[in-house]
């Protein structure tokens, strides 16, 4: 069956440009997470969506980062005025329910390089 997909797989952008990263979760999964993974490091929580509830944006590192989830399905992470420190792999995960006991299924990630 289809897993979590993300696009693009790779993105190279110039400093100061805006980028949009897309996540297509598994159909029927109500919870969606975005994480950032810097080279050689673990995953940093960015944002969490659950159903129609207000998202938990507490992990977004600055106001240049925003995310939305339309129709309870596809999600877009937007980074405005990109900086070199934004270079990382951005991972999306979805799960059937709102708690961590529901397994999170991860996409392959988008590798963002800011030059």
């Amino acid at each position: 069956g289809a897993g979590v997909s993300q696009s693009p797989s790779n993105k190279v952008t110039e400093k100061g440009k805006d980028v949009e990263l897309r996540c297509d979760p598994i159909s029927g999964h109500t919870a969606l997470y975005w994480y950032r993974q810097r080279l050689g490091q673990g995953l940093e929580f960015l944002i969490y969506f659950q159903g129609n509830s207000a998202p938990d944006k507490s992990g977004l590192p600055s106001d240049r980062f925003s995310a939305e989830r339309t129709g309870g399905s596809v999600s877009t992470l937007t980074i405005q005025r990109t900086q070199q420190e934004d270079s990382a792999v951005y991972l999306c995960a979805s799960s059937l329910g709102p708690r961590v006991s529901y397994e999170q299924y991860f996409g392959p990630g988008t590798r963002l390089t800011v030059t």
């Binding site: 490091q41 995953l43 929580f45 709102p98 006991s101 990630g109």
Partner: protein
């Protein structure tokens, strides 16, 4: 802030031997732990989990041990295979949905 960490960043193991990957956590309120495997170019994949009311849990070729006294978690892989080469992360949970990840241990299996 509180975070999960690992004792060793890399582990080299002979094919067929057992592997032990360690993890230290600092949040005594954490009540749920997960081990993930991440292969190159892929997202993390769930391996096994354990709740704080347990000290051991076994899966297929894997065992997770939890020592709450010293806040230590380990993953044991039996009869390590080349396909086990990956980065392994432990993650802890202390609220409904947030996970805190360690930096990961890179496991390399020697033929």
């Amino acid at each position: 802030g509180e975070s999960v960490g690992l004792h060793l960043p890399t582990l080299s193991v002979q094919e067929g031997d057992n592997s032990i990957i360690n993890c230290a956590y600092s949040n005594s309120a954490s009540d749920y732990f997960i081990w993930y495997k991440q292969e190159s170019g892929k997202g993390p994949q769930f391996i096994i989990d354990i709740r704080s009311n347990m000290d051991k849990r076994q899966g297929q070729r894997v065992t997770v041990l939890l020592n709450k006294t010293v806040k230590h978690l380990s993953l044991q892989i039996a009869a390590t295979q080349p396909g086990d080469s990956a980065v392994y992360f432990c993650a802890e949970n202390f609220n409904d949905y947030k996970l805190s990840f360690g930096a990961g241990t890179t496991v390399t299996v020697r033929a």
